[in-house]
């Protein structure tokens, strides 16, 4: 079994990226990550076996993000789609980020998690472990979720292919 420090160093960045993708750019995810790794640390202290540490950490990070979104009520209250017309170039990237975050909220919570984890390069096996979707259904669910996101992005004027 890897030491805690190794698990921490190996996974911090991925968890950081997942949390940012879940919460949107500009969110402070430091506390979330500290909580997640603290839970993992305590689990190790109690000698509770975690078979797949990365999957466990992903799940814990997603849960913390969902909690935070709930508290901020972003989870239920749909935001209006950001207006993307007539923007200066320097604003463009921020607009794209806002639009991407918005389009992610148009997916179901499960689809959103799946797509975010997928974008972090998790294997189908890991995706199944973290999301609870049957391994044999990952391909189908993924295909549907990616198309849905692509459509949302196109509908809102996001230039997916450029």
């Amino acid at each position: 079994m890897d030491t805690f420090e190794k698990t921490y160093q190996d996974n911090y960045n991925v968890m950081y990226r997942i949390a940012i993708k879940m919460l949107g750019n500009g969110s402070d995810v430091t506390d979330i990550l500290q909580d997640v790794f603290m839970s993992f640390f305590e689990k190790q202290q109690q000698r509770k076996r975690v078979e797949y540490p990365r999957s466990w950490l992903c799940r814990a990070t997603l849960n913390k993000c969902v909690d935070k979104l709930r508290k901020e009520k972003k989870f239920t209250d749909a935001e209006p789609a950001p207006d993307t017309e007539d923007k200066s170039i320097c604003q463009e990237k921020q607009e794209m980020k806002a639009l991407m975050s918005y389009c992610l909220t148009r997916l179901s919570p499960r689809e959103k998690e799946l797509v975010i984890l997928y974008s972090e390069g998790l294997s189908y096996k890991e995706l199944a472990q973290v999301t609870g979707i049957a391994f044999t259904s990952i391909g189908k669910t993924l295909s549907r979720s990616l198309k849905k996101l692509e459509n949302e992005l196109k509908t809102h004027g996001y230039e997916v292919y450029k």
């Binding site: 750019n25 430091t30 640390f41 797509v115 975010i116 990616l146 996101l149 692509e150």
Partner: protein, 156 residues
Amino acid sequence: MNLKPTVMKCINEEILQQYVDGECEEREQIAVQKHIENCEGCYSRWEQCRARMIEIKRSLNILIDTLPAAPPFPVPAVKVPKRNYALQVIVPLAVAASLLLLIWLGPGKDKNSLPLEQVLQVCFATEVDANKPAHQQEFTITVVSPDGKVSEIIVQ
């Protein structure tokens, strides 16, 4: 799966997705590849699926500006372990009992060994190390015989 490469039907979205993600079994992957090479429709769907995969991953990554280095993890101060009755009392008692039994029945019995009643003091000290499982805990057992000889035995 009954895939015959030469007569494979057009590929459904699920298999196509698995193929693009490198998640097909080898046999299936070969079959899909063969089919794509010979079917214009599926070739074009494969191109689309692949482009979608790449672009969605790329687009999602615009949400990440910079990656901070992992801050040092604030390792919590070692908590004073709760008094663990099993570890602090029962286990040492059991160890001491077996030890006394050993002394009593031991090979030295017929020589100069002392009868059990004369082993006056048996002390055991334990300090539970919270980072170690029960079977790795250490016990120190001090046996003082009536003639004042002190033996210290560390049991691991």
